[in-house]
Symmetry: C2
Subunit: 356 residues, 2 copies
DNA sequence: TGTTGGCACTCTCCACCATAGAGTGCTAAC
DNA sequence: GTTAGCACTCTATGGTGGAGAGTGCCAACA
C-alpha cells in the first residue's frame, strides 16, 4: 500500500470523510481513543475493520488523526477537528424546544444589558455543558447620554456618566480649595455639561468645552469636570474589553481529559487569561459570525487544551459584544456552534428591540 | 503510660503547647507529616525524640493531631488549628515595609469603592499566597442620593439610582401606552422624585409617594416610577450580599494538598459557593473583628478542605463589607490574620475619609 | 515520676516483573 | 481495492519485595 506523505489537505474521499466524522463523533462522546473495530460495529460502514484501518492510517498520514501509542485507537488532532468543523459538519440548529426555553429565560429576567450578557453566559454553559462566556456590548466611540454630579462631602463629588450604549461610569471628583461644593452648584455644573456634551463622543465633546469661560466660577468648574468626563469616556473607548463574564467552568473541569490536576490548573488559568480573551473578542467582534478556535490555534500555552466557539452580537457600527463557549478540544462543535449562533441571534434581537 | 481518653481540651502544659505549635508551623511550611525526630532537630526542644513522641501521642489523644497512617508523622486536625489560633499564636502584625507597599498601591488607584474592594482582594491574595476575597460595603438600609431618568426610545427609559453609600443601581422603565416619553417630561418626573425621595430609605420614601396626585399626568408617572425606585432599593436592601470578588485562586490551586484533581475541583466549587460565602459575610459583618473558619467548621462539604480568615470593614450602622482570604486548612494563620487585620483597617480609614 | 535509648513493628513508597488485552501494521489471498 | 489472519507493540493491572520512615512500647535511669 502506498503510504502517502502528509499531503496538503486535498479534498478527501467521501468515505474517508465519513470515517473521520465517525472517529470524531465517537471520540467526543466516549473520550477514549477509538479503534477500527468499534467503528465498523457502531457505524455500519459496510467494510471490514482492515479496510477502516488502512483509511485511518491515511488520515493519520494527513495529520488529521493520531495515536497516543502503538496499540491504542485513534484520536483527532487539532487539524482533524478543524477539517471537521470547516468541511464536514453542518451546524445543528438548536431544537425548537430549547429555543423556546431560552427565550423564556430571557423573558424572565429584567430588561437590562447587564443581566442579559450574564444570562447568556449561564445559558450557554448549561446548554453545552461547557463554560459560557459573554462580554457586555461595547461601542467603538461611546456617546454621552447624561452627566450627573452628586456631592459626597465638602471636598468630593461623585461623577456619574451614562453612555448612550447603556454603560454607566462612575468617577470621584475632588474639588480644589477655593471651589464651591454644594449640590446646587453641582447641579448648575451638570446642567452646563449636559447641554454641551450630550450626544457627543469624547473627541467632539472636548471641542465643545473650549468656549467655557475661565473667569466664571461655575464655568471654570464645569471645564475641569468636563475634562474629566472626556478622560473617562476616552478610557472607556480605549479599553479593548470591559469584562468577560464566565459561568459553568465546573462543567469543563469535569471532563476526563482534565483529570490530572496540572491540566485542570491550566484550564483555569486559561480562563483567567483576560488579555488573550480580550484580544480574541476584538477579532470576533470584527468578524461578524461564529468563529472557532481549536486547541493549538490559540497561542497561549494555557489555551492549548481548550477550544473556543465565539460569536459577536449587537449592532455593527454601534455597540458590539461577544458570547460563546470554552470547552475541551474534544467538544461537540456542531452543538456548540448551533447554540452559540442561536444565542448571539437572540441577543441581536434584544439589542435591536432596545434601539428600535 | 496512661493513655488518656480525649479530654475536653483542658489547659495544655506550656511545653505541650510549644510542641503543638512546632508541629503546626513545621507542617504549614513543609506540607508533609512531621515526625518526632524532625521536631527535636529543628526546634531545639531540649528533650529526646522519645519524650516528644509521648507528648505527640497525648496531643493525638486530645484530638489536636492525627496520623495519616501508623508509620507517618503527625499532622494537625482542624481542632488542632483551632486551638493554635485561639490560644497559642498571636497575630503577626504586617511588616512596616509591606504596610507601606500596600498603602502605596491603594494610593495609585482611583478613589472609588469599586476599585478598592477589588484591590483589597488582589492585595490579600498576593500577600498571603492564597485566594483573596472582598465584598463591596453594603448598607443595612440604603439611602437614596439621586434619581435620574434617561429616555432610551419612545417606550423605554433608563432609571439610574445613586445611593448614599456609593452604589449605583440601574433599571429599565417601560412606559404605558398613553404616557409621555420625551426627556423634558422625564426630567420633570425625576425632579419630583428627587424632591421627595432624596435622603430617604425605601420605607420612608414609599410613604412620601402617597401624596402624589392621580389626576396629574406627570405626577401619575412619577408615582409609577417612584414605586419602581422603592422596589429596587428594597431588593438591594434584601440582598444578603451583592458580590464576592475573588482573586488569586491559582495560588491555592498550587498547594500540594490539591494535587488530586477532585480536591482541586472541590476548592473551585467552594469559591463558587456564593450562598455560603454570603452567609459567612453576614456573620462576619456582625462580629466586628477578624473571624477564622477552619476546615470542617464550614458546613458545606466543598469547604471542608479550606479555611477562611475574614474581617469586616466600613462603618457599623452605615455600610459594611468584608475582606479576607481563603486557603488550604494548612495555611499560615498568624500571617493571614495579621494581613487581613491590616487590610480591613486600611479599608476603614478609606471609608472614614470618604464620610468625613 | 518524668525522661531516655533501644527495638520490634507497621505501613507507605517505589521499582520490578509478568500477564492480559487492545489495537495496530503488514501480508497474502481474493 | 478489500479482506482475513497474524505477529507485534504498548498499556494497564496486579502482585512481590525491599528500603525507609516513624511509631509505640519497654526497661533502665535520674
Amino acid at each position: 500500500m502506498a503510504r502517502r506523505n502528509r499531503r496538503p489537505l486535498g479534498p478527501l474521499d467521501l468515505r474517508t470523510q465519513a470515517i473521520l466524522r465517525a472517529v470524531i463523533e465517537e471520540y467526543v462522546t466516549t473520550a477514549t481513543p477509538v479503534g477500527s473495530q468499534a467503528l465498523v460495529e457502531r457505524y455500519g460502514l459496510g467494510v471490514s475493520s482492515a479496510t477502516v484501518r488502512s483509511i485511518l492510517a491515511e488520515l493519520e498520514a494527513n495529520g488529521l488523526l493520531t495515536h497516543p501509542h502503538t496499540s491504542a485507537g485513534r484520536i483527532p488532532t487539532d487539524s482533524g477537528y478543524r477539517f471537521y468543523v470547516e468541511s464536514i459538519v453542518e451546524a445543528v440548529p438548536l431544537p425548537a424546544v430549547e429555543q423556546l426555553m431560552i427565550r423564556h429565560q430571557f423573558g424572565q429576567v429584567e430588561f437590562a444589558s447587564e443581566h442579559w450578557f450574564r444570562l447568556a453566559a449561564t445559558t450557554l454553559a448549561s446548554m453545552t455543558r461547557s463554560a459560557g462566556l459573554a462580554t457586555p456590548a461595547k461601542p467603538r466611540d461611546a456617546h454621552i447620554r447624561r452627566i450627573d454630579l452628586v456631592a459626597i462631602n465638602e471636598r468630593m463629588a461623585s461623577l456619574i456618566l451614562v453612555l448612550r450604549e447603556g454603560a454607566i461610569k462612575q468617577a470621584l471628583v475632588t474639588l480644589e480649595a477655593g471651589e464651591s461644593i454644594d449640590q446646587p452648584t453641582l447641579n448648575a455644573v451638570a446642567a452646563i455639561l449636559n447641554e454641551r456634551l450630550v450626544n457627543q463622543t469624547a473627541t467632539r465633546g472636548e471641542a465643545r468645552l473650549g468656549s467655557l469661560r475661565e473667569d466664571d466660577r461655575v464655568e471654570q468648574l464645569a471645564r475641569r469636570v468636563g475634562d474629566r468626563v472626556v478622560k473617562v469616556v476616552r478610557e472607556y473607548d480605549a479599553a479593548t474589553i470591559e469584562e468577560v463574564f464566565s459561568d459553568g467552568l465546573l462543567n469543563v473541569m469535569e471532563a476526563p481529559e482534565f483529570a490530572q490536576s496540572d491540566k485542570l490548573r491550566r484550564v483555569f488559568s486559561a480562563l483567567e487569561n483576560r488579555a488573550y480573551l480580550g484580544q480574541l473578542v476584538g477579532t470576533v467582534a470584527g468578524a461578524g459570525r461564529v468563529q472557532v478556535y481549536i486547541g493549538h490555534e490559540n497561542q497561549p500555552l494555557d489555551m492549548r487544551d481548550v477550544s473556543l466557539v465565539l460569536a459577536p452580537y449587537g449592532r455593527p457600527g454601534h455597540a458590539i459584544g461577544v458570547v460563546g463557549v470554552l470547552g475541551p478540544t474534544r467538544m461537540s462543535y456542531s452543538q456548540a456552534i448551533g447554540t452559540v449562533r442561536f444565542v448571539s441571534g437572540l441577543m441581536n434581537e434584544l439589542v435591536d428591540h432596545l434601539y428600535a
